[in-house]
Amino acid sequence: MRNTVYLDALKKREETLSILKGQRFEQIVQEAKSNWIEYTPQRQDSVIAGIDSSYNSTKFQGLELWVVAAVSIKSDGTIITELHNQGLGTPNPELAAQASKMEIDACAASVDKADLVTIDGSLYSQFLTRQASLIALLTATVKKKNNVVFISKTSVTKNEFGKFGSLAGDIFYYNHAVQRPGFSKIFVDKDLGPGKVISSVYARLRDSTPLIKIELLGSDHDESEIRSLLDRLYKNSVSGYPYALKLAHNNCKISYSDLARLVSLYGLGNEIGSREVLE
């Protein structure tokens, strides 16, 4: 089976790799280059909080054991807030919504305690998948001090180069266009309607590090603000990624071994069918 897959891959190699070359690719990369503003961030002291959430569940014989957690943590390891919820049965509201609510709550607890609050993920997913009540809460929290940004390492949005018939996400072309530190011109997206305007940039904090996508709420942002933002992110970043977000991710990650411990704590380890799920 695998051999036939490999053989097929060899046959389709040229076609598959066309995404990386050809006139269209070159055109988009050229466009990305022209959009790029070279800027080497300067070190600036700042207290940065990283927020991330995680959820996981295990199902067996109609039962679901679920856990949701979120954390806000500073670059020096100080935890601002830890939130979690767990249960047995069908989660309500669904786990993603609970996680999102916890992130907003963690953000609310952090905006006054940090110079800059970074949230792992995209503002798009918050706006597109959340209930109206959550969106209102989110925008209110972000606007309180205007010190909240959303940061992601990956992105699938094609807002900028979709019009050129791009196959990959915008981040792919920016990655191929430049290796130097800097950021793309601010892209303002008003498609989601009033109150949900998103400004986004792709940024590279250091030479040859992966790009990050930064999203800010609203349209009233300029390049000097982005420069200042990069300066603050630069100091406590590792391989071009804010360390506070790495800490937040490591801190709240709920693995299957964590679930296995919970199964044991609840005394569900001996239930028929429980073991297979966790292995």
Binding site: G77, T78, N236, S239
Partner: protein, 506 residues
């Protein structure tokens, strides 16, 4: 003070703990278990950084270093602690390991002087100070001298790591207890040892007292020279042994055998050459008029018998003779005390002896027979009963006979780097854990791992330096060269002044 918490899987003999600070390997700690306080030894200490894990390049390392310094929770101090037994029992000399492991969550406490003092520095007379614990330096480290004499010791280390210093320290302590110590000194390391009433003599061999094959070794007849060996054997008669002029009588005997036995004239002639050679080269050592060489050893003193002038074969003959005689004397003394009638009228030593053999790998080699090995092995087996202790000192443990090494009830192991040596030690010392073994290569000069019966517990100690010792130290070649050049210049200058210029011109 609480310095850690037991985490993960715990066993009755070992636990893993998360500590508040990095703990040193060899440090003693208290495990405050549900069944009472346990004494633990840190066998492995691991420090890791969350930020500095999985680093892919230098830039990432530098950035991670910066954030790691900032993050107070970044460092992870994990230790593996070997459990040695209940503290109160150990203080009474009993090592009792708990049947139930300490529960995860159990506190790890700092060991205090009160906790450790009674274990490592008992106050009774047979315990002598040897130094202090390496990682708990305020605690004295003592060894039980009775156990050395009854169960033997091995002192093993690379050259220059403190073997002679430890031997000197033991010698000083034995001297202060009026004990009898005999050091076979192969490199004249102990002749300047500052010990009261020390007896330093050259080891002698009285050829009259040897068997013919041993005499052949001493005068360096080749082992496979069968005819020469026979000449000597046939000529070395009882009357020769008792002759007033031993060498002349032996030479006459050899000469006569050569003349009277067909086909042996050439061999007898070669034996005569060898005897003549030995008489001249080894006149200080081979002494037919020295009486019994064992008489050179004085009871109640430290005796340094120098074997530096002897070849390896001669030293081997000498050592085996001394060991044999000393063991036999102790046996006679023992049986005399039990009221048994002896073949000999008197014994030389009424109290236990302790014998130290330097360069043990030369005299007690692996895979090769030597007489010293035979007698050393016999002393190791029987010495406990008859009161003769053996100490073997070597920098090449892998070359020592494993049977003899394994009979050394106690070991002092200093820095050893070679894997072969470490493996040999591991197989000889059951109480040396793998983790302690790995520490051997990182020990510094004067540090030693003590295991076996002379200590209540395996311990890593820093041995006291013997003050005023002039032993085993390396040469200061640079200083000596410099001195030598200076004297040459002085000599040249002074001679130059004596030569008249006009004479040179003529």
């Amino acid at each position: 003070m609480n310095i850690g918490v037991v985490i993960g899987e715990a066993k009755p003999t070992e636990v893993t703990a998360q500590s508040i600070r990095p703990l040193s390997v060899g440090e003693y700690v208290i495990v405050d278990s549900q069944n009472g306080k346990l004494l633990g030894l840190v066998e492995r200490s691991i420090v890791s950084s969350d930020a500095l894990t999985d680093i892919r390049n230098f830039d990432e390392a530098m950035e991670s270093k910066e954030v790691a310094e900032l993050n107070t929770r970044d460092k992870n101090y994990k230790v593996k602690i070997g459990i040695l037994g209940f503290l109160d029992k150990l203080q009474k000399g009993q090592a009792i390991v708990p049947a139930v492991p300490p529960l995860p969550g159990t506190s790890i406490l700092e060991a205090t002087q009160q906790d450790l003092g009674m274990i490592f520095a008992p106050r009774s007379k047979e315990w002598i100070r040897i130094g202090s614990l390496l990682r708990n330096s305020e605690i004295e480290a003592k060894i039980n001298i009775n156990r050395i004499v009854s169960r033997h010791i091995g002192i093993l280390a690379m050259t220059g790591m403190g073997k002679s210093n430890l031997v000197s320290l033991i010698a000083k302590q034995v001297s202060s207890l009026q004990g009898t110590l005999i050091i076979f000194d192969y490199h004249n390391d102990y002749t300047n040892l500052s010990v009261p009433k020390i007896s330093v003599t050259d080891a002698k061999i009285n050829p009259r007292l040897l068997q013919a094959d041993k005499l052949a070794e001493v005068i360096e007849l080749r082992e496979n020279a069968d005819k020469q060996q026979r000449v000597l054997r046939e000529s070395f008669t009882a009357s020769v042994r008792q002759a007033k002029d031993f060498w002349t009588a032996l030479e006459e005997g050899v000469s006569a055998f050569g003349h009277t036995t067909k086909g042996y004239a050439d061999s007898a002639s070669r034996v005569l050459d060898k005897i003549d050679d030995a008489k001249h080269r080894f006149s200080d050592i081979l002494d037919p008029d020295c009486g019994d060489p064992v008489d050179l050893i004085k009871e109640g003193r430290v005796n340094v018998l120098s074997v530096a002038e002897l070849s390896e074969r001669q030293a081997n003959v000498g050592l085996s003779y001394y060991l044999q005689e000393l063991l036999n004397d102790r046996k006679d003394s023992y049986w005399a005390k039990k009221g048994r009638k002896l073949s000999r009228n008197t014994t030389k030593f009424s109290s236990p002896l302790f014998v130290i053999i330097e360069e043990a790998h030369v005299f007690i080699p692996k895979g090769e027979h030597t007489d010293t090995k035979y007698w050393a092995s016999k002393v190791a087996r029987e010495g406990r009963k008859f009161g003769i202790g053996l100490g073997i000192v070597s920098q090449r443990p892998r070359n020592i006979d494993p049977n003899v090494l394994s009979q050394m009830g106690s070991l002092a192991i200093m820095k050893i780097v070679q894997d072969d040596d470490q493996q040999q030690i591991a197989s000889a010392a059951e109480s040396l854990s793998k983790d302690l073994l790995t520490q051997l290569s990182s020990l510094n000069i004067g540090d030693a791992v003590l295991v076996g019966q002379w200590v209540n517990l395996p311990s890593i100690v820093h041995v006291d330096e013997v003050k005023g010792k002039a032993i085993g130290s390396d040469l200061d070649a640079v200083a000596e060269w410099s001195e030598s050049t200076k004297y040459k210049e002085i000599a040249a200058e002074s001679t130059q002044g004596l030569i008249q210029k006009d004479l040179l011109m003529d």
